[in-house]
């Protein structure tokens, strides 16, 4: 028997047992109470699974998920009442209506981040409720809508809703699992971990988030139709209830957001707790206190949720049993003369009179300089001289107030960062920004060369991509770390991986922000060697660096900035002797940055 207790095996066993039990239950037991409890579990679980796509994978916490159930319920009920056709016909329509509303809402709400997004989803629930109350001619106001009673006999009990919600739950889990495996899912997780970085490596974050939001609403809307039929009565306070949204969020948090099965487990647990307290205390106020307290406890004491915590525990145990694998960075340096690619005379990047202000600070003040193809250009200057702002303007994290930025003959200053990445611009960050929860290999594979809808559906890591990523990791000397989580690497190791990640898109121009900062000398040496090797292969570099001996050894020309302007550009030796530059770095009466009155 080779049976080892792994997370995957335990999960597979539990899932098979659960599905068999769920399908068989109505055939074995005819207790309508338990059928109702179970279909409420399915409902809660499928809503939590939908929430998890937009809030667990993508990191955009929403308190508005329950509203999509309401849209589906109202759409299905209204169509049924107007047409007198069977309710089941309109269940898919309910899903489509919810998805369309999600798309329209996402077009605006997905531009917001963090707390602003949560606030707007809270507002969404209440506005929906108010509209349902006040639009009496259509929704019936507070009187609600009463659906026709089911046509089949009473002995069917709740089995039709039971199986309908079970099928919808299965479909939601399938969709969620599929998303997790595709490029779409990898992109969503990249957005959760670090949205700016995701954009920097070519992920069209807006489109990704929008797709996630629509996917999260689709089955919730369909479930709304089924749920309305099961209740045979819907009203604004029941359908747009913020507490219901809180419950499903709690389900996902408790089970484990970001995992495929966590929200399912959480949905069942929360529904059972709900039923139990209803029987013990008769619901009401105790209920509210209890759910509030559980939510606080989960967020404070079990922030990862049950399933991810259990998986972590199993992984730790396995790692301990298998012992630590000896891993080391390949620090070999090629022993040969530095070789420079032929100078083509082409300008790869040019900044023309670029300006950027922050409140009173004129961080970049009429900056102009060019980077020649095949060069390793340095950008240096005292602290606060505007180097990082200049980098962010080139790379697209900021838009200039005025001026032009030309990349390879094309004006790019108005293009979003992911488009610039597609045009051949790569960058690393001063403080590395890998996605800490992903493996090193997944990090290197994450960049996307272009956006297409078809690509979203592709597997997250294809064979060819994995092979190329391994080559790149070997190139920077990090091949031994491919399976490790990026968050576990040392800072210098992360810097090497970030270079490999940048290379995945085969950029023409690579921006390096302080590559040697905070890195051991051995890794710096390796890095310099790799930069030379890449440059010999035709890659152009623009490097911000404080380590002046390194700049002198590696770069030519050197552009010097002070107070948001270029004050000098020459070879390293010439720049170091330039009195203007010395004054900027050392001058007694120089402030380093100019603040306007």
């Amino acid at each position: 028997m080779t049976g080892r207790v792994t997370g995957a095996r335990v999960r597979r066993g539990l899932v098979v047992a659960g599905v068999v039990a769920a399908v068989a239950f109505p055939l074995v037991s005819h207790d309508p109470y338990w059928q109702t409890v179970l279909y409420m579990c399915f409902l809660m679980a499928l809503l939590a699974v939908g929430w998890n796509v937009v809030s667990g994978f993508t990191g955009y916490a929403s308190l508005g998920q329950g509203a999509f159930l309401g849209y589906g319920a109202y759409a299905t009920s209204l169509l049924t009442l107007r047409t007198h056709a069977p309710v089941w016909w309109f269940v898919p329509v309910g899903g489509v209506v919810a998805a369309v509303i999600a798309a329209l809402l996402g077009l605006v709400a997905m531009r917001l981040r963090g707390h602003a997004f949560v606030i707007i989803t809270i507002a969404l629930v209440y506005i929906s409720q108010l509209v349902a109350i006040n639009w009496r001619s259509v929704t019936g106001g507070t009187n609600g809508l009463t659906l026709p009673l089911p046509i089949y006999g009473r002995d069917w009990q709740n089995t039709p809703y039971y199986y309908a919600l079970l099928v919808l739950l299965a479909a939601s889990v399938a969709l969620s699992a599929w998303i997790r495996r595709t490029k779409l899912g990898a992109g969503l997780i990249a957005i959760r971990e670090d949205e700016d970085k995701a954009v920097a490596i070519g992920v069209n974050a807006f489109a990704y988030k929008l797709v996630a939001f629509v996917a999260s609403a689709l089955f919730a809307g369909m479930a709304g139709g089924v749920y309305a039929y099961a209740l045979t009565f819907i009203d604004p306070t029941g359908m747009f209830d913020i507490l219901f949204s809180v419950q499903l969020v709690l389900a996902a948090l408790l089970g484990g957001r970001g995992s495929v099965w966590g929200p399912v487990l959480g949905g069942f647990l929360i529904e059972f707790i709900d039923e139990g307290t209803n029987r013990l205390f008769g619901g009401g106020q105790v209920h509210i206190v209890l759910f509030g307290a559980i939510m606080v406890a989960v967020i404070v004491f079990l922030p990862r949720g049950i399933v991810p915590s259990a998986e972590r525990l199993l992984r730790r145990r396995r790692e301990r049993r298998e012992g630590r694998v000896d891993q080391s960075v390949d620090l070999r340096v090629t022993e040969r003369e530095p070789h420079r690619p032929p100078v083509t005379g082409r300008t790869l990047l040019e900044l023309r009179d670029v300006h950027k202000r922050f409140a009173g600070v004129h961080a970049v003040d009429g900056l102009s300089f060019a980077v020649q193809e095949g060069s390793i250009t340095a950008l240096i200057g005292p602290n606060g001289s505007g180097k990082t702002t200049a980098f962010n303007l080139v790379h697209g994290m900021l838009r200039p107030d005025a001026g032009e930025i030309v990349l390879d003959g094309r004006r790019v200053e108005r293009l979003p960062a992911h488009r610039r990445a597609h045009l051949g611009l790569g960058r690393t960050f001063q403080i590395t920004r890998l996605f800490p929860e992903m493996t090193v290999l997944e990090n290197v594979v994450a960049p996307l060369p272009r956006f297409s809808w078809r690509r979203l559906a592709a597997g997250a890591v294809s064979g060819a991509e994995a092979e190329r990523a391994r080559e790149l990791l070997a190139f920077v000397g990090m091949a031994a770390f491919a399976g490790k989580r990026a968050g576990e690497l040392s800072f210098g190791q992360q810097k090497l991986v970030e270079i490999a990640q940048t290379l995945m898109l085969d950029p023409k121009l690579i921006l390096l922000d302080e590559p040697s900062g905070g890195v051991t000398p051995a890794i710096v040496e390796r890095m310099v060697d790799r930069i030379r090797e890449l440059n010999a292969g035709g890659k152009t570099f623009l490097i911000v660096e404080h380590n002046l001996p390194l700049v002198a050894e590696l770069c030519d020309p050197v552009v010097v900035m002070a107070a948001g302007k270029r004050i000098a550009e020459d070879s390293a030796a010439a720049v170091q002797a330039d009195p203007v530059v010395l004054d900027a770095y050392l001058g007694a009466d120089w402030n380093g940055e100019r603040v306007e009155a």
């Binding site: 916490a61 809180v246 106020q285």
Partner: protein, 295 residues
């Protein structure tokens, strides 16, 4: 015309009280970066405390703000130590969920103790009004706004004239630099949270005299307070004051000229419109978001 002036005056008086109620949300967001949606529940808790003391002691409810404010300070301290302290490393959105959950505990607890019936605090002047020319100004609203403005001025003095105030503002501007300057940022955060709870609770005392309330009123207040601070740019106390006046006037205008059933929609519409068109609010600073901060 008289009606319009009256609506404006009543709206501004209401807005003054709103400003006190919303000051806590702004203060806590400014210093800790947490959108503390518990504030709605704190406000209703303040109202219930006032009701209870008024019933038991028979003291004027507005004067009772002197008693409820320190009690609410203690409540804030407790909530900070039990929950908020542990959220320092949690994602921003998670902290909103957590404070919402704390609000649920308070709202449910109030329901268990006081039931879900409407309560109202009715001192002798509750139904009286001043008639100034053709204008009709309810006394309670005038006194309430007066006390709110005095308390806000006191808060402003505290923030601008005392060492604690300077520490709070320093921690809001740049926590790391404040820490380097020897400020105990955690202590400052605890004090800020408690002060914010106290001012919101005081707002609840004043509002108890104006409107009947029951536990679930907290949800209405969450959105109203959010609407106000979103309008004012989240972390600016001055912005919040102006946002509160605008909100008071807007609600009065809608309930007079449109319909009272749409009045509760005003805060949500404000939230939607402001966040979508001007996410930094009317008075918020545009902040640099491009520099990676280790926080």
């Amino acid at each position: 015309m008289t009606q319009l002036i009256e609506v404006l005056v009543l709206g501004l008086l209401l807005g003054g009280i709103y400003a006190l109620a919303a000051s806590g949300l702004t203060l806590v967001f400014g210093v800790m970066g947490i959108v503390n949606v518990t504030q709605g529940a704190f406000l209703v808790l303040g109202a219930y405390l006032t009701w209870l003391l008024w019933r038991v002691l028979g003291v004027d409810p507005i004067v009772l703000a002197l008693v409820t404010t320190p009690i609410m300070f203690g409540v804030g301290w407790l909530v900070y130590q039990l929950v908020i302290r542990h959220l320092r490393d949690a994602p921003k959105a998670t902290t909103v969920l957590a404070t919402f959950a704390v609000g649920l505990v308070i709202v449910g607890g109030l329901g268990m103790v006081f039931s879900n019936d409407f309560r109202s605090v009715t001192p002798a002047y509750a139904d009286r009004a001043f008639h100034i020319g053709a204008l009709y100004v309810p006394e309670a609203r005038l006194y309430g706004c007066g006390v709110a403005v005095v308390l806000l001025l006191g808060l402003w003095q505290l923030l601008t004239r005392t060492w604690l105030g300077r520490a709070i503002r320093a921690a809001a501007e740049n926590p790391d630099a404040a820490r380097l300057a020897g400020i105990d940022v955690v202590l400052v955060a605890a004090l800020t949270f408690s002060i914010g709870t106290a001012t919101t609770g005081a707002g609840g005392s004043l509002i108890a005299v104006l409107y009947p309330f029951f536990p679930a009123t907290a949800y209405v207040w969450i959105s109203r307070l959010l609407g106000i601070v979103v309008l004012g740019g989240m972390s600016s106390l001055r912005g919040t004051f102006i946002g509160a006046l605008l909100m008071g006037v807007a609600e009065m205008v809608v309930s007079t000229y449109v319909s009272t059933s749409w009045t509760t929609a005003v805060p949500y519409l404000v939230i939607l419109v402001v966040l979508l068109l001007r996410p930094d609010g009317l008075f918020g600073r545009r902040e640099r978001r491009d520099v990676a901060v280790a926080r």
